[in-house]
Structures are given as structure tokens and as C-alpha cells.
Amino acid sequence: MTQPPPEPPYAEQPPYAGQPPYAGQPQAAEAEWQRMDVRYLVVGPFAAARQFIVPAGAAAIGLGSTGSPWALLALPVFVLASALLGAVPWLTTYFRVTPTAFEVRRGLLNRTRLTAPLDRVRSVDLEASLVSRVLGLTKVSVGTGVDDTRIELEGIAKDDGESLRRFLLTRSREAAAPAAPTGIAGTAGTAAAEPSVTSSPYGAPPPSAADPEPVELARIDWSWLRFAPLSLARLAVVAGAFGFLSQFVNDIPVWETRTAQDAYAYVAAQALAVVLVVAAVVALVAWVVIAVAAFVVQWWNLRLVRDGDNLRLTAGLFTTRSTSVDEKRVRGVRLTEPLLMRPAGGAELATLATGVGEGGTTTVLPPCPREVAVRVGEDVLGSPADHPLTVDLAPHGRPARRRQHVEQQLGSLVLAVVAAIAVGAVPWDLPWWLPLVVLAVASALGVVVAEAQYRNLGHRLTADHLVVVGPSVVRRREVLESDGIIGWVVQQSFFQRRLGLATLVATTAAGGEKVVVVDLALPVAVGLAHAATPGVLDEFLAA
């Protein structure tokens, strides 16, 4: 256990031994610092302008309203400032790839130096906005280890970004498995014999037998568009837009007919109903259009491939994203079936991985048929024999069900009390029976919701996976490798103690960093933890 780790294979040679060195220079022991692509000078000002447009606009309007002659200068100053500020990142950002690390140095006054050890690189993402794509640039984000900060480089030529991604991921894989004789160090001899195999400065490893062709796991199918309007995640956006539009409702001519002409009195009487119906139809159509458009923009040209040990997702109509995750870092998946999508047989799939951006979850499939999500999910998990995505779950039993109902009915009670207070407090007349109606409706709804939540609630420990669905209306199945569990928390609130229930939290470095099993009988919770991580609890169990 205490012996030093075996020497990594690259310790013998500089990293680019035999690879085409930077800019045709002789091989250097120390890698050169280099700047981002010069084309960034075009993108930078746009980014800077976007940051300043609101304050600059406000200042310009302020100046303009005073009639000051300085207002005329506002635009040229704004443009010039954007151009200058936009150039600063290019002037002050340098990066290099050393034998052991990917390093970025940036900042004019506050200098920072970010270092990602090559063996800690977990994910490399490429993202290109529309402007960047026109210029052939891309943004590279490198995710490392357990912390959330990612190293980002804004302006890299597209091909360089691709080869940088390939290089970093290959190296991190080799460092993780030092015994593997393939890769850069292994092929250095052959590469040295034929210099300038590639013009890439990062020395993308030549393809070898260890790098099989990328395998496609999923590709966009436009029939999935039918699920787009059923996903309510974007509803808030539409509701906001509709609220904004609704202020023009007063201008709809139906209102004027009522006031203007008596002959249309009957029509006018119906106007309110008409307006409501029209509004509902317009809202529905707007929702469908926006949902479909957003789906197309986000998932255009979606491809999910397995490239060696990496999962790579590419998608996007205007801004193209390319997300790569080391498959060994994927500790589980999450299959989400939102309420509206479930009757239609749709589901979404996300991976739970360590060292990937914020949240640790990456959505890898848009709303799509459940069978597709299950197939891809099992593929991502390495086709386990225990079928964690389809296995039946154990229910949590009556006390757990009772807790769901009690929680919901407490909510209805609170609503009724609020309604009663409102009846007493507001100056205009509200019917006295309003709180009763609220109570009746809310408790009826509460029964339905509680029952739906309890029906979803369940768990199962399969051979290699902990499978959990929480008590929620949205059915969200989380599958976590037992091997990815790094600790346990057994929580019992006062009321749970009275019912002999406990909430079991499996902590993990992947995804949301925890998987929660709600309202298990206490002995079952401890038994589950004991079975999922054999050995850990041994000494803490009662005889």
C-alpha cells in the first residue's frame, strides 16, 4: 500500500518526443507559452460589447436627454472601448501543455495561473457561438478532479481545439492506466520517423489499434419533436413572454366594438369568453412553437458517440457544443419521466459523472422515447446484466405512504387557513365558504399528488447499482454504481423517528453528489447501506 506509484510512461521522454514541435521549432524541453488564436481579436470585442451594452445604453440615454454634446461621442467611445477591452484577454492569456499539466496563465493586474495535471483531466468540452463558428474558433473548457472550477480558453482554432481535446483525454486515460503500452509514448518511435504527420501543434496521437472508430450510441430523430411541447422546463420563459404580450390585449378590437356600437351588444357580451378562448389558443400555439424551436436549436445534429473511453456529445444549431466525458468517470445515469411525458412514453437521460461542470450531470438525450433512453442509458453504464433502468423497485411500505399523505394534507390545511384569513382581512366581500372550497379542492388534489408520489417512490439494490426513485410527481430514476458510493448519512427527523423511518443518503462524487432514499424503515435503510458497501459498516453494526 505504501509503495510509490509506478512511474508514468512519459517520465522518460518529453511529452512531444517525436511529435511535430510547436511552429516547426526544434524540440524544446520546456513547452512554449502560446497565445490564443489571433482571430479571437474579432470575437473579443463582441463579448466585451455585450457586457457593456446595458450600462453604456443607460449612460447614452442619460446624456442624450440632457442634450449634452457629449452624447454624440458615446457611440464611438463605446465601440473603441469594446475593441480595446476585447483585445485584453488575447494579449494577457497564455497557455501551454507541459509533460504533466495543461496550464493557463491570464490576467493583466491580477495574474492567475491555472494548472490542470494531465492525469486529473476528466472532461474537455468545446463550445462555439455563432460568431466563433463563422471565424472557425471554439471555446475549450477543461474539467478536472473534484472541484467545480473549469479552465476555459475562449479562442482556439477549431482544429486545434479538436486535437487539444483528443490529446488531453488520451493523456488522462494513459495516466490513469499507466500499464497501457499504447498512446503517445508507445508510438513515439514511429512518429519520430515521419515528422509533420499533422500540422496540429498539440500532437494528436496517430490513430492506433487502441483507438477504435467512434461508435455511435444515439443520433437525433426528428420524430422526437413530439415530446418537445410536453417538457415544461421552458414553460416559465413562455409564461413570461405571454405576460409581456398580454399588456397589448387592451388593444384587441373586440373591446372597442363593445363600447363603440350597440348593434354588437350581443357579441360584446360574449367578448370576454372569446378573449379567454383566443388567449388560451394563442398561448398553446405559442408554447408549441417555442418548445419546438428551442428543441431544434438545442439538439440540432445531436450525436452521442463512444470514442475510445470517452463519451462525446455534439449538438446545437447556432452554438455548437461538444462535451466529452471519460467513461470511467460516469458513475451512473438519471432517467427522468416528467408528468406530461409519461403517458406519451417519453423520457430524458442524463449522466452522473465526477468532474463535469456544474451539477455533475450532463443531459445526454433530449426528450425521446423511453425505450431509446433506456437503451442508451444501459449502453452508457456498460450494458450491466442487472438492468438497473428497467428493474422493478421495492416499495417503501405503509408508513412512507402515510407520510406523503400527511405532508400533502398539511399543505392543504395551510392553504385553507390562508384563505380564511384572506376572507376576514380583505375589504371587499368574499364568500364565507371560500376557505371550505379551498380546503376541499386542495385536499382532493393532495390525495392524488401524495398517491402519485408514493407510487413513484422506490428503491432497489442490484448486483452493481443502487437504483432510487424519489417521492415526486416527476418520476426520476437515479442509478448509481455501488462502487461510486463514498459514504452514508442516515437521517431521522422527529416524525420519522416516531414511525420508525429513516432517510438514507448515499454520498458520491458524481452528479448531484448524493442519492437520497426517502422514508425507508430504519433497519432496511441500514441493511441497504450494509449490502451496498460490504465491509464498511461491519464494525458499527449491533451484534
Partner: protein, 173 residues
């Protein structure tokens, strides 16, 4: 509505035993003092307001009484209870703690997944010769804290934990 199936009997069950070790007995007085200082200052502020409140409504006195009770509970009642509840165990394999007064919480982490072992000592804790220990894993949901150990015990534990976790390979995720 069909009845949900009752508790499946096929699932393995187990019971955690009470962790062996208590924290330092001096922790009780430390908790008393530290919460007493905080709540005392707050109570004096409330009492001063009550005193200066001239046409004093009846409920102001009730509030004062409530504030007094709220000050007494964490200073008088809670520390001994907390002392009895907060227990811990450290083996060569894992850490186990129990804590929580109203909400009970037991935390377990295998040492093979431990990332850092931190120990902290505030000024007041130094006066009492106490030291707290926090063991973190790669999950934000998983830090394990043993509050107010005897300073010597804490130092020994840190040495033990760093020795065990240092011998582990891999990145513990």
C-alpha cells in the same frame, strides 16, 4: 385504490449500534459558555427594548418571557443532551458519528474515500483544551464532524486518519 404492498420481508435488515466514544466532558461547559454568550447578548438587547418601551403592550412581556426561554434552552438544556447524543467511532476502515438533537443523523464514511482531515480550534475552545475534527470526502454531502474532542485525542486521531488515508491509492472518487 389498491392497498400498497406491505413491507417486503426479503430485504436485508441491519441495526447500527451506538458509537463507542463520547466527546470531551469539558465540551458541555464549552457549549454552555459559547451559546450563553450569544443568547445572553441577544437577551439583554431584548430586555433593554422591553424596558424602554413606554406604553408597553401586554404581549411585549410575553415576548420577553419567550426570549428568556429561548435563551435557557440552548444554554441549560441542550449541552448535556448533546453530549450524550454526539458519539463517534473511528476504525481502520471507516468513521462513524451520531449527532442531532431533534433530527438524528448518523454519518459513515470509509477511510478509503477520505479526501481531507481537518481539525479546528477556536479561541474559546483552546481555553477548554478542545479541538474539532472534520473528515471530508469528494462529496459535498458527506463531511463528517466530531465536535469538541479532547485536544490530545483529536491530534492522535488526525495522525491515525492521515496515516490510513495516505496509504490509499487512487483519487477516492
Amino acid at each position: 385504490m389498491p392497498e400498497p404492498t406491505t413491507e417486503p420481508t426479503t430485504q436485508p435488515t441491519a441495526v447500527l449500534r451506538e458509537p463507542t466514544n463520547l466527546v470531551s466532558p469539558r465540551a458541555v461547559s464549552y457549549w454552555r459558555l459559547s451559546s450563553g454568550v450569544g443568547t445572553g447578548v441577544a437577551w439583554i438587547a431584548v430586555a433593554l427594548t422591553w424596558f424602554l418601551w413606554d406604553p408597553r403592550p401586554w404581549w411585549a412581556s410575553a415576548l420577553l418571557l419567550l426570549a428568556a426561554v429561548a435563551a435557557v434552552v440552548p444554554t441549560v438544556v441542550m449541552p448535556p443532551v448533546r453530549y450524550r447524543i454526539h458519539r463517534w467511532d473511528v476504525t481502520d476502515v471507516a468513521v462513524h458519528t451520531r449527532s442531532g438533537w431533534i433530527t438524528r443523523e448518523e454519518r459513515i464514511a470509509p477511510l478509503s474515500r477520505v479526501q481531507t482531515v481537518d481539525s479546528t480550534q477556536g479561541a474559546l475552545m483552546r481555553l477548554y483544551g478542545l479541538r474539532s475534527l472534520t473528515v471530508t470526502t469528494a462529496s459535498a454531502a458527506g463531511p463528517i464532524t466530531i465536535d469538541c474532542l479532547d485536544a490530545d485525542v483529536a491530534t492522535d486521531l488526525v495522525a491515525h486518519l492521515t496515516a490510513v488515508t495516505g496509504a490509499e491509492r487512487g483519487d477516492a472518487t
